[in-house]
């Protein structure tokens, strides 16, 4: 098998909340579980989509993955080492090999620097080029993401939303990474701009053999871009495996509900999922999805199902998966 880049081993991230009581007599401590028992491996060359609604914990998962926050329990590894413990050369290697594209692309670019300096910063920092070669490399990167050379002297505020995302991608590519981690990199854009960017990402990934970890709320984007998918709900991965297989025959009722909610030309609007994603504070026992699940039985409210392999590289956390019923 190919080398494992990222491994999340039973990662839990919870926050303690205080307050709620009267003065000088704080109420009972409450726990917000942003992530709970998350297992995920990403091998070199994989393209993985993390899909979920807001509050599903996908952003927290990303922060744990990048070593921006350490898990309360479990471990997050990169190349077999704990990401928060990386030292010296290994740490420098991680910083160069893994590049991130932010959801807020504009905010991720210093507004006081022109595009040339923005893209040159990682090149210079990692000493990948020197002297005039830096500028040539920046021009090359701009060309790769489909921006004209004139963009070099522009400031982020002079660029459109689509262009800013291209600059952010070029900047991520500048450190010649193995992995690109993208957080909702195409959301909030017009469909034609989104399509342009998706085409660009697919092309870059194929040509450079990049590993891609892509966070999105859109199943369509996930299916277009990624071979692997992990569906998250309330801090848990509820189903994971090859994208095609899962979208053709989802096993978890929540995956099915997400699929149903996807608008389809001229189809009548499907029966929507009832209720809303509950608050992650003080969850009741049992499956987190049980309260909204159309297939829930009393047992679902007692035992919290773990993510169990179900063959063909798939895994599902459900005691009554749809695949078994069919």
């Amino acid at each position: 098998m190919t080398a494992l880049l990222f491994e999340l081993l039973d990662v839990e991230k919870s926050y303690e909340l205080r307050g709620g009581g009267a003065a000088f007599r704080p109420g009972p401590k409450r726990r917000l579980r942003a992530l709970d028992g998350v297992r995920l491996t990403v091998a070199r060359g994989d393209s993985v989509a993390l899909v979920g609604e807001s509050g599903s914990g996908k952003s927290t998962l990303l922060r744990v993955l990048m070593g921006l926050t350490s898990p309360t329990d479990g471990r997050a590894l990169y190349g077999g080492q704990d990401v928060t413990q990386l030292k010296g050369e290994r740490r420098a290697a991680f910083q160069r090999e893994v590049a991130m594209v932010y959801q807020d692309a504009r905010g991720s670019l210093n507004p006081r620097l022109p595009v040339l300096d923005l893209i040159a910063e990682p090149i210079r920092h990692h000493k990948l080029r020197a002297g005039p070669a830096v500028r040539d490399r920046v021009l090359e990167l701009l060309d790769q993401v489909g921006l004209p050379a004139a963009t070099l002297k522009r400031y982020p505020s002079q660029l459109s939303g689509g262009q800013v995302r291209r600059v952010a991608i070029a900047r991520a590519l500048a450190s010649e990474p193995l992995t690109i981690v993208a957080d909702e990199a195409v959301s909030g854009l017009d469909v034609s701009t989104q399509a342009q960017l998706l085409n660009l990402l697919v092309e870059l990934q194929r040509r450079m053999g990049l590993t891609l970890i892509f966070i999105t709320h859109d199943l369509g984007v996930a299916s277009f871009l990624c071979d692997q998918i992990a569906v998250m709900y309330l801090g848990r991965i509820v189903e994971t495996g090859p994208t095609r297989a899962i979208l053709e025959r989802p096993a978890h009722p929540y995956t099915q509900a997400l699929l149903n909610a996807q608008p389809r030309f001229f189809a009548p609007i499907a029966q929507p999922l009832q209720g809303e994603i509950p608050s992650p504070i003080d969850l009741p026992p049992g499956c987190r999805f049980a309260g909204r699940c159309p297939r829930a039985v009393p047992a679902c409210r007692e035992d919290d199902p773990a993510l169990m392999p179900s063959g063909q590289g798939r895994a599902v956390a459900c005691i009554r998966p749809l695949t078994a019923a069919a």
Partner: protein
């Protein structure tokens, strides 16, 4: 809720302590020897030593500070060298009410005129009326108040002889005469605030009127008047009260100058004279009073936030 109030109070007390440390340091940094100043030019060695002991100046700074703070809290603010009168009586009982009367009447006038003018300006955005109000309010915020006071004295006091140009009559003793004497000073002091309120209300109201909830209110069929006064002004209240609280300092600062111009026996005059007479204890009392007043008012503003904006209600 109680927790919220408690936390705010604790923070306020801490800031008050800091203010007291700042004022105490000021006193210690002041040039000259207080014992010498109290004794005058001729004194004996024993008298010097005994007074030093009496004033506690032979103790450590921390003890002196504690002593001084306790005195301040209990109303023992020391005696003025010049008048040999208790400073508490002079500063708190006599000067402060004058300054407060001036500040309150100026603020009242500023709100009374500034708010409607600001609303009108925002509602008639980009008309001649708006431009005129903008020009006036810009001039009003920038015009030096002490010169404005002199101008008002010249025009209304000297030229037309309509109002008295100096002196203070307590409105709680003779209301009409008090108001009569307060008219020009209050007008002088209020100009800046009136102009500032106009600008603040206009800017915030225009911003509020661009919010989706205002479009939604209009879409519901609410009348323009209701939209402005209910949805617009309700949301302007919060920044308005905040800025008024923060600008209290400017109000007190303006009062110092206005008191000088109109010869009102308030805190401003007190501090000015004290600086000239090198009466550091009085300067310190003035500094402490203005600081405490500012902090107290801003505590009230902080406590009013949850009421002004329900989103800030502590849970």
């Amino acid at each position: 809720m109680l927790l919220f109030v408690g936390r705010k109070l604790a923070q306020t007390i801490f800031i008050l302590l800091m203010v007291s440390i700042v004022s105490f340091t000021l006193l210690k940094l002041a040039p000259g020897d207080p014992v010498q100043m109290a004794l005058g030019s001729e004194y004996s060695q024993e008298a010097y030593a005994s007074l030093t002991h009496e004033m506690g100046l032979d103790q450590s700074l921390v003890v002196q500070y504690g002593h001084w703070l306790w005195g301040f809290i209990t109303g023992d603010w020391g005696r003025s060298y010049v008048g040999r009168t208790p400073i508490f009586q002079y500063a708190f009982v006599e000067a402060l009410p004058v300054t407060l009367t001036l500040a309150a009447s100026a603020l009242f006038l500023a709100i009374l005129i500034g708010v409607p003018l600001g609303v009108l300006s925002a509602a008639r955005q980009d008309t001649i009326l708006d431009a005129g109000t903008a020009a006036l309010s810009l001039t009003g915020t920038a015009f030096p108040s002490f010169y404005l006071g002199i101008l008002l004295i010249w025009i209304f006091g000297v030229h037309f002889g309509l109002f008295p140009t100096m002196g203070f009559v307590a409105p709680w003793q003779d209301f009409l005469d008090g108001v009569y004497h307060m008219t020009l000073p209050a007008l002088t002091l209020s100009t800046y605030f009136m102009a500032m309120i106009v600008r603040l209300v206009r800017a915030n109201l225009i911003e509020a009127l661009q919010q989706p909830y205002v479009a939604a209110a209009r879409a519901r069929g609410e009348s323009e008047r209701r939209v402005i006064w209910l949805h617009g002004m309700r949301n302007v209240l919060m920044p308005l009260v905040t800025v008024l609280g923060l600008q209290l300092g400017a109000l007190l600062q303006g009062a110092v100058l206005t008191e000088t111009v109109f010869s009102l026996p308030g805190v401003g005059q007190m501090i000015t004279n004290a600086v000239l007479n090198r009466e550091y204890l009085v300067v310190q009392a003035g500094v402490m009073m203005t600081g405490c007043l500012f902090i107290f008012v801003n505590l009230l503003v902080d406590l009013a936030y949850p009421w002004l904006d329900p989103r800030l209600k502590p849970r």
